[in-house]
């Protein structure tokens, strides 16, 4: 579900610069005609993801630029929805930290069977590949008091009856980067591009 927040702002004109300076002398009739200025209109309803309730999102700074994110909730909708929300929060955290992209650190264990992601064999570069954002899960289901862990790399199927989930935590470790992103790294995600894709799709779990 997407919610929108009415914002009465007029964004700064985009595209071509409004002022034009000239090298030698004034250019008769010259005017910037590049990208048409096309600001959001006053009253435009800009998409915005609502704030999460306390305790839903936890961010821990680890070594250097590494962060550990956890999204927790009780009401399970779909695995994809919750993982997308975590990815969106990872992108937002990256931008808040004045970085531009992040790498996803896979939580693999001995015996995992999921193949490791590789660079595209045809040489394509990517701004992100959502298929490779694979966070770890733990949950309580069916009234059981103990947490059950599930790894996307284990080869085991996700819980057969997710409707029985009463508590869940989804977690990911990411490392933030500045500058030009490595489009050949299958675990690299350009934060703004990820946020753009997901902003209209996600909401915090309850």
């Amino acid at each position: 579900m997407n919610r929108n927040l009415g914002i009465g702002l007029t964004l700064a004109a985009l595209g071509a610069a409004a002022s034009v300076s000239f090298a030698v002398d004034a250019q008769p009739g010259a005017a910037p005609t590049s990208a048409p200025a096309n600001p959001a209109q006053a009253g435009d309803v800009l998409p915005m993801v609502p704030l999460a309730k306390p305790g839903v999102v936890t961010v821990q700074k680890r070594d250097g630029d590494r962060f550990h994110l956890v999204v927790a909730g009780h009401k399970f909708n779909t695995r994809a929805e919750i993982e997308k929300y975590l990815a969106y929060r990872a992108a937002e955290l990256t931008l808040e930290q004045k970085a531009s992209w992040f790498t996803f650190i896979e939580a693999r264990s001995k015996g995992d069977t999921a193949p490791e992601p590789r660079s595209d064999p045809t040489g394509r570069r990517y701004s992100f590949r959502m298929d490779y954002f694979r966070p770890a899960w733990r949950y309580k289901a069916g009234g059981a008091p103990a947490w059950v862990s599930w790894s996307p790399f284990s080869g085991a199927a996700f819980i057969a009856d997710p409707k029985g989930i009463t508590d869940f935590e989804v977690s990911a470790d990411i490392v933030l980067h500045k500058g030009a992103m490595d489009g050949a790294d299958p675990l690299a995600f350009e934060a703004q591009a990820v946020a753009d894709l997901l902003i209209n799709q996600v909401s915090p779990p309850e």
Partner: protein
């Protein structure tokens, strides 16, 4: 018309203007040129005609050759399968439309169906992808991996991702080459499809670009020269062999596509200053694309032939990458362009923003520009002032198409900035509308496609066909006395 005629000028004046017989030092001089080829300065690294498996002309620039989006059914399945909202039947039928063998123009119809299908690849149905590329997953784009590239050191730094020029200059900023240099219709050894289209469009009158160089010392060595670049309203005059006829006159318009720069000339190499905004005509092959390239931090380097009759050069700077995306993708029908030319403009969009490296905006923390260089070749001409001020001429047919293009370009940029999905304004032909409504009529499974595949919708009398006739939502002309379709 004052143009299209050879000026009757005495030999001395010819010498002054073309430099065939260069004047002595410390004499005022002026040389004019008309541009006869205009292309992105993409350095080709392949071997013409060589293929390896499915890779076309792999080379040091693009190890896997040029882009091959949508080439095979397997690739199409992957591209369509990224949209989780598509059913398996939808994917299967798009790739092999039932009853297609009963249609006379089956190849064209399959092409149209595929083009409409790839025009909607966002996270949910109903969002036109090429107007809203940010709402789709990145399909990936092969990028240039070579370290050698043409262009300028625009930022005065030598960065890890900068190119080295063929002459050995470090710090070359040409991120557009990295982003788009492997794209099929832009890559070639002087024969890239779009390079040829731009060249032919210029020579058949779409637009004319001229340069005028002047100084007071020597045309081959002048420490205080002036370079002017701009649009000419006069069509290029060709010789009997289709080349550029020498020494014709062209007016230069001092309008939005005009810039005057200081320059130094050493042994025939003209190097201008770097200016905040360098206005010059854009690369274009249809009228909608015409306009001001508006290079930020722009500069020009020209190499004049010793006889002064011709020259080559580079025009460089940062261009707004949103402009580049819109101009390259939305001039007619991006889906058809992608299916037909093995491009993917969604991938090209992400490659642009991923490689953006200039016009940094402190407030948003974003790079709005991408470094680039355009390559030109030029022939001697008389570049003269217009008798009276004039604007760039526009034909009536071009005007409504241009308006429709500017509208879709504005919507695209607005969507990128606001992340509010934008519609396709009427007068554009995204998703092969209304063409598919005509071509699909004999297909037995047409109802499935017309119902299932998304396309723009307009109230009756708002949409337009390719000739500008008003149509209803099903693509039929409102005026029943005219035949809908291309002019």
């Amino acid at each position: 018309m004052m143009l299209k005629r050879r000026l009757m000028i005495c030999g001395a004046a010819v010498a002054l203007s073309t430099g065939v017989a260069a004047p002595a030092a410390a004499e005022p001089w002026v040389r004019g040129y008309v541009v006869n080829t205009y292309a992105y300065a993409f350095r080709y690294g392949g071997r013409p005609g060589f293929t390896r498996g499915s890779e076309i002309e792999p080379g040091v620039d693009c190890p896997h050759g040029r882009s091959s989006h949508f080439t095979t059914d397997a690739q199409l399945r992957i591209a369509l399968g990224r949209q989780k909202w598509r059913s398996q039947q939808e994917i299967d039928w798009i790739i092999a439309p039932p009853g297609l063998d009963q249609v006379r123009e089956r190849q064209g119809l399959r092409f149209d169906i595929l083009s409409r299908a790839v025009s909607y690849r966002a996270y949910k149905r109903g969002i036109a992808t090429y107007v809203n590329p940010w709402a789709a997953e990145d399909p990936g784009q092969p990028e240039v991996t070579s370290r050698i590239g043409e262009g300028f050191n625009l930022d005065g730094k030598v960065g890890a991702r900068d190119f080295v020029s063929p002459a050995g200059e470090m710090g070359i900023d040409n991120a557009l080459y990295r982003a788009w240099g492997c794209d099929a219709p832009w890559r070639g050894d002087g024969n890239a499809e779009f390079d040829l289209r731009v060249r032919d469009s210029m020579r058949f009158g779409l637009f004319t670009m001229v340069l005028r160089i002047s100084g007071n010392q020597d045309p081959m060595n002048d420490s205080d020269a002036i370079v002017e670049i701009g649009y000419s309203p006069d069509k290029i005059v060709k010789d009997a062999r289709g080349g550029i006829a020498a020494d014709y006159s062209y007016r230069i318009l001092k309008n939005a596509q005009y810039t005057k720069l200081r320059a130094k000339i050493i042994n025939g190499v003209v190097e201008t200053e770097q200016v905040e905004h360098l206005h010059a005509p854009r690369i274009a092959w249809v009228f909608s694309q015409n306009g001001d390239a508006n290079f930020s931090k722009g500069k020009i380097r020209l190499k004049i032939a010793p006889d002064g009759l011709s020259g080559t050069g580079l025009i460089g700077g940062y261009r707004n990458w949103r402009d580049l995306y819109a101009e390259a993708s939305l001039w007619n029908n991006a889906g058809q362009q992608d299916i037909g030319r093995h491009q993917d403009h969604v991938a090209l969009y992400f490659a642009l923003r991923r490689n953006a490296d200039g016009m940094y905006e402190e407030k948003s923390g974003k790079y709005n520009g991408i470094s680039t260089a355009y390559r030109i070749t030029m022939s001697a001409a008389f570049v003269v002032e217009a008798d009276e001020p004039m604007n760039i001429p526009i034909h009536a047919y071009d005007l409504w198409r241009k308006k429709a293009f500017e509208a879709i370009k504005a919507n695209t940029i607005r969507g990128i900035e606001t992340r509010i999905p934008q519609d396709v304004p009427p007068g554009n032909f995204e998703a092969v509308y209304p063409r598919l409504e005509r071509t699909i009529k004999d297909l037995p499974s047409k109802d499935f496609f017309l119902k299932t595949l998304d396309r723009p919708h307009y109230p009756d009398g708002v949409g337009m066909d390719e000739a500008g006739n008003l149509i209803d939502d099903q693509g039929n002309c409102i005026d029943k006395t005219v035949v809908c379709g291309p002019p």
